[in-house]
């Protein structure tokens, strides 16, 4: 076992222990607000992971993931406010809407690659952003829809709902963790290897018999699913849905979070997202112009650590590993998990 995997295993255990104890540990040191903030970071991390699945593992840079986030959000918002659905059907509606939209737009979008793909995903998301702004009766436009929260579980007298902060936190943590686990399993499966083959060289991938179009479409729909779950969770979390979350800036932020954290790594998006959201929250209470710091950070990271923060970390640990196994051993092929 290499030094790197030992250290990373320990860090992961620490991280998991921390996440499980957040509702008790965090209020003891700071306050309740931070529990909600960590829940929000989890949701946005999942959104950044959807960008990462496409860019980091399949090599498609999507600039329009906000569309599926928005569909997840509106599925929940419209489901509860207009259709009077309860929690689970609304959740299902949000995810189904996002996946269906991803399938429909993906059929067209994955015919293109690279710049063209980036542009067409932006264009699709802008079309639906403007539609959502126009169709005020359905979507509430920029003001959005506010709704009151239906209970998640109710057995007889006991009702569990998002009004309970601890329950809300654990619901979000469980859902996000499940999604990340799912992504981890997919990436380790033969399907994931096929994704990597396409990312590294799509011509070769097609020559060894992979159906590049279909595999890209599968990845696109999976990314739409992740973004949709994130959007639905965010709708429950904020108790509202708004067209402004479908604008291209939201997609752009997720791209930045994923790349700064480290594209093509499972934890990259979590680290990038946490970094930027914590900076925003900590600085914005003291200084109005926190965007300045975010901008400088983004530039510094891409100049200093082009593989993202996780990539930088692995390079450092890799150097330690190399020193341990002295020079005469052939360099191991570095593969991303």
């Amino acid at each position: 076992m290499t030094l790197r995997s030992t250290i990373e295993r320990m860090l992961f255990a620490l991280f998991a222990a921390f996440m499980l104890s957040v509702p008790w540990v965090v209020p003891a040191f700071v306050n309740d607000f931070w529990v909600n903030l960590i829940a929000e970071v989890l949701i946005w991390s999942l959104f950044a992971a959807s960008v990462n699945l496409l860019f980091g593992y399949v090599g498609l840079l999507s600039f329009g993931q906000a569309l599926y986030f928005g569909f997840g959000m509106y599925g929940v918002g419209i489901g509860i406010d207009h259709l009077g659905l309860s929690f689970w059907p609304a959740f299902g509606l949000g995810i189904t809407a996002a996946v269906a939209m991803a399938l429909l737009s993906g059929v067209l979008a994955v015919r293109l690659t690279w710049h063209y793909f980036a542009i067409i995903t932006v264009v699709f998301s802008l079309i639906f952003y403007f539609l959502a702004v126009t169709m005020k009766s359905l979507t509430g436009g920029d003001d959005g829809i506010n709704f009151s929260m239906p209970p998640t579980f109710s057995f007889g007298g006991t009702v569990l709902s998002f009004t309970n902060q601890t329950f809300q936190y654990f619901f979000i943590l469980t859902t996000v963790a499940l999604c990340f686990y799912l992504m981890h399993r997919v990436i380790r499966s033969p399907l994931g290897k096929a994704f990597l083959a396409i990312r590294d060289n799509d011509v070769r991938a097609s020559l060894i018999g992979l159906n590049v179009y279909l595999l890209r479409l599968i990845a696109f729909v999976m990314a739409g699913f992740l973004a949709g779950v994130a959007g639905a969770l965010f709708a429950f979390f904020g108790r509202y849905a708004s067209a402004s979350y479908m604008f291209y800036h939201v997609s752009g932020e997720a791209v930045v979070w994923a790349i700064v954290g480290g594209a093509g790594t499972l934890f990259g998006p979590i680290i990038g997202t946490s970094l930027f959201i914590f900076i925003r929250e900590v600085v914005s209470t003291r200084w109005e112009h926190h965007a300045l710091i975010v901008g400088v950070m983004a530039i510094l990271v891409v100049i200093m650590a082009p593989k993202g923060l996780v990539g930088l970390w692995r390079d450092l640990l890799g150097r330690l590993d190399d020193r341990e196994t002295s020079g005469n051993v052939a360099k191991k092929l570095r593969t991303e998990p």
Partner: protein
């Protein structure tokens, strides 16, 4: 009714000429440096703000037409040297870096200029009869300026030594360097010219639109559309697409609201991307 149609069509045409200036900068930066410039809309915004400051400090609007592109040129050169050069090899990183740049530019303008939008009054007021309607003189003047700048840029690219170098580096970087062309300096110059064109567009547009630190956000997708519909790397195509798109939106706006017009051009753009990814005006892919 036909008067509003004519008015909006003319407005669209002139706005398209200004957009063409900005989109050209975007296109050369993309073509030469492989940089997807998310901050390009903000380069335009910086132009409007510089024009506003010039007017406030000197009381002379005309000076803005010189100061804005000059400031843009200097800032562009600095940004290329400090931010773009270290990450030049990867387009994905350029997105993050220019996104950061966009935040910085917007925030610096918000600190110095303030968060509230301002209007600049046109330096020439009055209207002239044009095709049976009364049309603002300044807009006609703006169109003239934009056409002059576009023509100047194409002449520069076609007939000067540096312009030829720029085309050479875009065509084949390695051969250009082997022939002794200072590619590094060409990159700096390209980015500077791209910024200067957008800033000049901003100064021209300042009396037509509002001066606001978020003024670049709406411009950006439109410029990208012009670049794609015109065909990546096809500069005259980009200019033509900008005018065409904006004219079309103007015409649709006379019967429907602006959002519908925007959706229509986005749908057109999806069709172009899917059916003719090489752009509307090119017969083949390079």
């Amino acid at each position: 009714m036909s008067d509003t149609l004519l008015l909006l069509a003319l407005n669209g045409l002139i706005w398209g000429l200004i957009i063409a200036l900005i989109a050209l900068g975007l296109s050369i930066i993309f073509g030469l440096l492989d940089v997807i410039n998310i901050a390009h809309g903000d380069f335009f915004m910086v132009g409007t703000v510089v024009a506003w400051f010039t007017l406030q400090l000197t009381g002379n609007f005309w000076l803005g037409f010189i100061v804005a592109p000059l400031v843009g040129f200097i800032l562009g050169a600095l940004i290329q040297r400090i931010v773009i050069q270290p990450i030049r090899s990867t387009a994905a990183l350029s997105i993050v870096a220019t996104f950061g740049l966009s935040l910085i530019l917007q925030e610096v303008v918000r600190i110095t200029f303030g968060p509230t939008p301002h209007r600049i009054l046109p330096p020439i007021t009055g209207t002239v009869p044009l095709f049976g309607i009364q049309y603002e003189i300044y807009r006609i003047f703006a169109a003239g300026l934009s056409i002059a700048a576009l023509a100047g840029f194409f002449l520069f690219l076609q007939y000067t030594k540096v312009g030829t170098w720029m085309r050479a580096v875009r065509h084949d970087r390695d051969t250009a360097i082997a022939m002794g062309i200072p590619a590094q300096r060409i990159y700096i110059l390209t980015f500077a010219i791209g910024f200067a064109l957008a800033a000049f567009g901003g100064a021209v547009a300042a009396p037509i639109t509002t001066v606001d630190f978020r003024g670049g956000v709406d411009i950006l997708p439109f410029c990208f559309m012009a670049v794609i519909i015109g065909g990546l790397g096809n500069l005259p195509g980009t200019a033509a697409a900008a005018v065409l798109l904006s004219f079309m939106e103007g015409v649709i706006q006379s019967t429907a609201d602006p959002t519908i017009a925007r959706i229509a051009s986005l749908v057109l753009m999806s069709a172009v991307l899917l059916l003719r990814p090489q752009g509307l005006f090119k017969g083949y892919v390079r």
